[in-house]
């Protein structure tokens, strides 16, 4: 044990403290502050340990990249937590429990991201998903929320079942649950039929992949995502879209590199097909979608398709050049860019929703926003341009990294899909921006109180998205240093 686990301890302790305080006396404001301050301290502690040597045990591996990505996860949770108070205050539910679940979900995500063993991975994953289920229904008995929660719970259990089956098969062949045992040398196998073993091994990996695809809502396992995004309250949807998916993606990245998955052609084919299908299907489904949250859900399918491109670009068979670690850097940069941007969109939507408990966000609601709430509208427009990958935003830097890595690995037909689906994506992002610059209607539903709090959150987002978009150098250097070490 060393300072590597400090953030984990802080977050778990905050959750426990809130639980204790709630048992003694319910006080919403104190608990909210406790939650946010816990996350702030955890974030600082996590940033401080990024460049230390890390920690490795049977269950957990915290190296520099993991530490950096954990910092990202804590940052995402922190940003959401800052806006929880006004929303929870307007609910007629008990409020403090949400913070406990929130912190536990964050802890689960951190465990998933740092796991080096299927046991810790599974525990972390269940902690994450099971905390999110009640957070989805946390909304004054709204039927849509209950439907979403049941859907998420059942499908998440199904995904877990797939993962467990895959893990069991892997254990059967390797005799170990550790990720480091994933590389299997078939020639030394005592098994009489090495070819059969190889097939069974790949089947196990594909089962595992199906489970992960469920969690990342990649095609064809994406059916739950739109309903859940639409039904869940905005903060939960934000957490699900960014924190939960980012954690699982980090795990996928680790499985891919540690297991040297690029040596299995079947697996690569399956992954490529998932990537292409996600890119096209996600963007096509979002194309004419008028519900903003469904649109975001579908676009997130597409974005994880892009991210998969970076994973597939790792250690290419025939690279144009031997730029080392480029694909990993690309995956991390894109993940950072996408999650921060998407979280920004959710935070802005939370500000726009204000005190209304049941929100129905169609894109028509944004009509004329630019002339009524120029600050919010400009931010939202920048965030959508970032999602579309237009230069001078962080999203473009991510997309550039991705393209660079994929060109290096010569994934031409996937790149073709990327170009087509980016154009499809641009269409609906531009449609939203167009809606915002339309002439306003008479009565506005959107109200945003311009308090210090909101201004702080907004300016932080603007600084991140545009600042890193214009000067991507420092973050690129940091990622290179972390990945290269």
């Amino acid at each position: 044990m060393n300072q590597t686990f400090l953030p984990w301890i802080i977050i778990s302790c905050s959750a426990l403290l809130i639980m204790l305080f709630t048992a003694i006396k319910r006080d919403h404001l104190y608990n909210s502050m406790l939650c946010s301050s816990g996350l702030i301290i955890a974030f600082i502690a996590q940033v401080l340990v990024v460049k230390t040597e890390g920690y490795r045990s049977v269950l957990i591996l915290v190296d520099s990249p993991t530490a950096l990505l954990s910092a990202l996860l804590i940052l995402l949770a922190l940003l959401v937590s800052l806006l929880l108070y006004p929303w929870l205050k307007s609910l007629n539910e008990p409020k403090e429990e949400y913070y406990i679940l929130f912190l536990l979900a964050t802890q689960g995500a951190l465990i998933v991201a740092a796991s080096d063993h299927f046991a810790s991975f599974f525990l972390g994953l269940e902690l994450l998903s099971l905390s999110i289920v009640p957070m989805i229904v946390y909304q004054d008995k709204k039927p849509k929320a209950q439907e979403a929660a049941v859907k998420y719970f059942v499908l998440s259990a199904l995904a877990s079942a797939f993962i467990l089956m895959g893990v069991a098969l892997l254990y059967f062949y390797t005799g170990s649950l550790s990720f480091s045992a994933l590389t299997l040398d078939f020639s030394t196998l005592i098994e009489p039929n090495p070819k059969g073993a190889s097939v069974a091994y790949q089947v196990a990996l594909i089962l595992l992949l199906v489970g992960i695809a469920f969690k990342l809502s990649m095609a064809p396992c994406h059916l739950w995502v739109a309903d859940v995004f639409e039904g869940a309250p905005l903060p939960t949807a934000a957490l699900l879209a960014t924190l939960s998916k980012a954690a699982v993606f980090i795990l996928l990245l680790r499985l891919f590199t540690q297991g040297h998955w690029q040596q299995y052609p079947t697996l690569i084919t399956v992954l490529s097909m998932i990537a292409a299908a996600s890119m096209l299907l996600g963007n096509l489904l979002a194309l004419l979608q008028a519900q903003l949250l469904r649109l975001l859900a579908y676009s997130s399918i597409g974005h994880f398709g892009y991210l998969l491109l970076a994973v597939l670009a790792i250690q290419p068979v025939a690279g144009l050049s031997s730029v080392e670690s480029l694909a990993t850097e690309a995956a991390i940069y894109y993940l950072f860019a996408y999650t921060v941007t998407l979280l920004g969109v959710f935070l802005l939507l939370m500000l726009l929703a204000g005190q209304q408990s049941s929100v129905n966000f169609t894109i028509y609601r944004l009509r004329g926003l630019f002339w009524e709430q120029p600050c919010i509208a400009i931010m939202l427009a920048i965030l959508f341009l970032s999602l579309a990958g237009i230069p001078l935003t962080i999203g473009f830097v991510g997309k550039f990294y991705l393209t660079f890595a994929a060109v290096n690995s010569q994934l031409w037909w996937l790149l073709g899909t990327l170009v087509i689906s980016s154009l499809l994506g641009l269409f609906y992002y531009l449609r939203i921006i167009l809606m915002m610059v339309e002439k306003p209607r008479e009565v506005s539903q959107n109200s945003v109180a311009a308090n210090v709090h909101n201004v702080l959150v907004l300016s932080f987002l603007a600084l991140t998205v545009v600042g890193i978009g214009v000067f991507p150098g420092p973050l690129a250097a940091l990622i290179l240093e972390v990945v290269g070490s």
Binding site: S321, V323, I390, L392, L415, L423, V437, A476
Partner: protein, 487 residues
């Protein structure tokens, strides 16, 4: 100095937006002022250009931007860039003046976008780092998109979206090409670099060069635009407000031609020579198709837009004829077409402002009520059809002379474009200016519009009567194309 130039425009843009809070009329004065301030660095650039040697960049500025990929903020200017930057600023003034009374809705944001798009275009003409070039290339789209989408005519949303998607499609393909080029260069030299001067000397294998070149080519040709990628142009021009049509026609289309001359030809000489015959055929198809389509239009703006397709076909023909004269002609055609088409759009805009119609069938006999405007329209119509003594004639003639050496048959076919141009151009004059008066009285051009038009008249006359200084500057740029050495 180039950085200052772009910075002045951007600061002016922000000030114009903010000034809207004080008074909506202040915005256009702020915009005008920032264009005037930009003349100071521009003037010193022109002075520098007169004193610099024939082989050098006039200005060359570079600072590190993204060290991870060795991307620098590298701006440089040679004769070709200088001409186009001057055109951009001139057209900035014209656009500003033609928007002066037309734009009344949210002026501040309009001038913000106008100046931002000008800054982006100047960046495109000066960037020598491929990544920087790409960033400017994409960034200038966003203000242009907003300009069309907010201030355009009835079908503006469709047009704006189409414009953005077409250009973005080309942009993404170019991004792939840039990445491939840089990685191939890295493979042989062991150094990541996006710099033009590093990459231009890199020798690619034939197949690689072909595919990489194709990516650039498609992006530039969509922008130019050439049949079959031209459909965005007619919609965007027709729906855009007058000032934006002026910028689109005069400046934005030229970025395509500039890209061909700056990047596609010099970086991939062998592959360019290989595809040149096919490209010339496409160019001729574009010339003739654009002219025929122009003839068939009822909407005046659409007609002028299609005539642009035809004229830009000459630019493409000139670029790929691969002779010095044709290149000079192509550059001069970009300038002359910029001025004459911008003037036509401004005049059509003026007619629309007065009569709220740009339908050829509804207009007629305008000479009887607004003679000054009609005289100007007649002049620019004649310029557009290639009357000797005006800039367009010199340009098209040079292109044809240059291409004749390369491929006589294609050149003869292209020359028919001049006759077709006469047909559709005279149709504009005949149907709007002469015949019985179909509409009521209106007011004629005011002092602002007359000074605007006269400046363009003089410029075209100068290009037509004494083009030698321009040709010298153009020659200095094109003679440096390494492709010349290969022929």
């Amino acid at each position: 100095m180039l950085t200052e130039l772009i910075a002045i425009l951007l600061v002016g843009a922000l000030l114009a937006w903010v000034s809207e809070l004080i008074s909506p009329h202040l915005a256009k004065w702020v915009a005008l002022l920032s264009l005037l301030v930009a003349l100071v660095p521009l003037r010193s650039l022109v002075i520098l250009a007169n004193h610099s040697g024939p082989q050098n960049w006039i200005v060359n500025e570079s600072t590190v931007w993204i060290s991870r990929f060795n991307i620098s903020f590298h701006l440089a200017l040679d004769g070709l860039s200088l001409l186009l930057v001057l055109l951009t600023f001139f057209m900035g003034f014209i656009a500003l003046l033609s928007a002066w009374k037309e734009i009344t809705y949210r002026c501040g944001f309009f001038y913000f976008n106008l100046l931002c798009s000008l800054a982006g275009v100047v960046g495109v003409f000066c960037a020598l780092d491929l990544m920087l070039f790409f960033v400017f290339w994409e960034v200038m789209l966003v203000p242009m998109y907003l300009l069309i989408a907010i201030w355009g005519y009835e079908n503006r949303r469709y047009a704006a979206l189409k414009f953005f998607l077409f250009t973005q499609a080309g942009g993404l393909v170019m991004l792939l090409s840039i990445c491939a080029l840089v990685l191939l260069h890295y493979q042989s030299s062991g150094q990541i670099s996006f710099d033009y001067q590093d990459l231009i000397h890199h020798q690619l294998s034939d197949t690689a060069a072909f595919w990489v070149m194709l990516g650039f080519f498609i992006a530039f040709v969509i922008k130019l635009p050439i049949v079959p990628f031209h459909t965005w142009l007619a919609d965007a021009h027709t729906q855009a407000p007058t000032a934006v049509s002026v910028i689109l026609a005069a400046v934005l289309l030229k970025t395509g031609g500039y890209g061909l001359l700056r990047f596609a030809l010099p970086m991939f000489p062998a592959a360019s020579i290989e595809i040149a015959p096919y490209v010339m055929v496409i160019a001729v198809i574009s010339i003739i198709y654009g002219a025929i389509m122009a003839f068939a239009q009822q909407d005046l703006k659409r007609l002028v837009a299609y005539s642009s397709v035809s004229h830009m076909g000459f630019v493409l023909l000139g670029c790929y004829a691969l002779t010095l004269q044709a290149w000079q002609g192509a550059i001069l055609q970009m300038l002359a077409h910029g001025v004459s088409t911008a003037a036509l759009f401004a005049l059509v805009g003026a007619i629309q402002y007065r009569y709220h119609s740009r339908d050829l069938a509804a207009l007629g006999g305008l000479w009887q009520v607004i003679p000054k405007l009609s005289a100007m329209l007649l002049f620019f119509v004649i310029a557009s059809l290639g009357m000797p003594g005006l800039g367009n004639f010199v340009a098209e003639f040079l292109v044809l002379v240059g291409s004749f050496k390369t491929d006589p048959k294609i050149t003869i076919a292209a020359a028919s474009g001049l006759i077709l141009a006469a047909i559709y151009s005279l149709r504009i004059a005949q149907q709007t200016l002469f015949g019985p008066l179909k509409l009521g009285k209106s007011f004629d051009l005011d002092g602002r519009e007359i000074s605007m038009m006269l400046s363009m008249v003089l410029l075209l006359l100068w290009m037509g009567l004494h083009p030698q200084p321009l040709l010298d500057i153009a020659l200095q740029s094109v003679s440096q194309l390494p492709i010349g050495a290969k022929l």
